[in-house]
């Protein structure tokens, strides 16, 4: 630990039970990005689930919007230590999208317009815990926050909620994504503070 600078406290860190360890509460919605913001036209936008046997399941924007919609209200936790509570979204549950997908895979690799990837166990995309979200706080999701649509998996650190999501590849073997190949945790449970590999 360094020399303490008198009177410096930094951002308030959580003592609240609602926040995972090491997180602080924020009211705004910080924009994080690892590259230029892709601009995706709704006319050409598509979402593709690729099963391990090569079968692909595709949805256009209109087809996605025609599916049953849910409005989750969730807390989100970014690995850069901010948390935002009670955020409201609208989107399609991955349960709905995976329904009818024939797979024996245990892992998923989400991939995005712009090239980002992140891996998750397929089970974590099921059970009403994951969505393809297109609306935030009652308005279309802005591009800097991942619009037209992003993955929303709020029970894991937010880097798993891939912005500008384009599809999910189902895998029999776990394949680490963009941050997972650079030191970040393969699972990323904020309540167990799984930030880095080995945490």
């Amino acid at each position: 630990m360094g020399i303490v600078s008198p009177g410096f406290s930094g951002r308030p860190r959580s003592q609240e039970p609602a926040l995972p360890p090491g997180q602080y509460l924020t009211e705004d919605f910080p924009v994080l990005s690892a590259g230029p913001t892709p601009r995706v036209s709704l006319d050409t936008w598509e979402f593709v689930i690729s099963a391990e046997n090569g079968t692909e399941y595709r949805w256009s924007w209109q087809e996605l919007m025609a599916l049953p919609q849910e409005t989750p209200m969730v807390d989100i936790h970014c690995v850069t230590h901010w948390s935002k509570l009670g955020t409201t979204w609208q989107g399609v549950s991955l349960d709905t999208l995976l329904d009818g997908v024939d797979t024996g895979a245990h892992f998923a690799l989400a991939h995005s317009y712009g090239g980002y990837t992140t891996n998750l166990p397929l089970d974590d995309l099921r059970g009403g815990r994951a969505w393809v979200a297109h609306t935030f706080d009652g308005a279309p999701l802005p591009a800097e926050h991942g619009g037209p649509a992003r993955l929303l998996v709020p029970h894991l650190y937010f880097w798993k909620s891939a912005k500008w999501v384009r599809g999910i590849r189902l895998k029999t073997m776990d394949e680490p994504g963009f941050w997972e190949t650079a030191g970040y945790h393969d699972y990323g449970d904020p309540w167990r503070e799984q930030r880095y590999q080995g945490d």
Partner: protein
């Protein structure tokens, strides 16, 4: 704001000097994807992210990723074919090692 959210490769100097004794921002690097060779100081660095991501200013491919945990650092330079680092002139001639 969105496309304008990167910094110059200059800022890599502090984080990289934790790992190296040379100032990599004065080195030249070749992009593995497009072959462009230029100063590492001219890379586009995205720092509002879980780590630092430095991209080629020409093709925007990822050249360097640096993640810093309190007790560890990860450096991924697979997007850089080579680095050309300025060195002080030495009198000795090259010879087989």
């Amino acid at each position: 704001m969105t496309e304008m959210s990167y910094l110059d490769g200059n800022m890599l100097d502090g984080p990289m000097r934790e790992l190296f004794t040379v100032d990599l921002s004065t080195a030249m690097g070749r992009c593995e994807n497009c072959g462009m060779t230029g100063s590492m100081a001219s890379l586009h660095v995205y720092s509002h992210a879980p780590g630092l991501v430095a991209r080629c200013p020409s093709c925007e491919s990822v050249m360097v990723r640096l993640v810093r945990a309190p007790d560890r650092a990860w450096l991924d330079m697979r997007g850089v074919t080579y680095l050309q680092v300025p060195m002080p002139m030495e009198q000795t001639l090259p010879e087989p090692l």
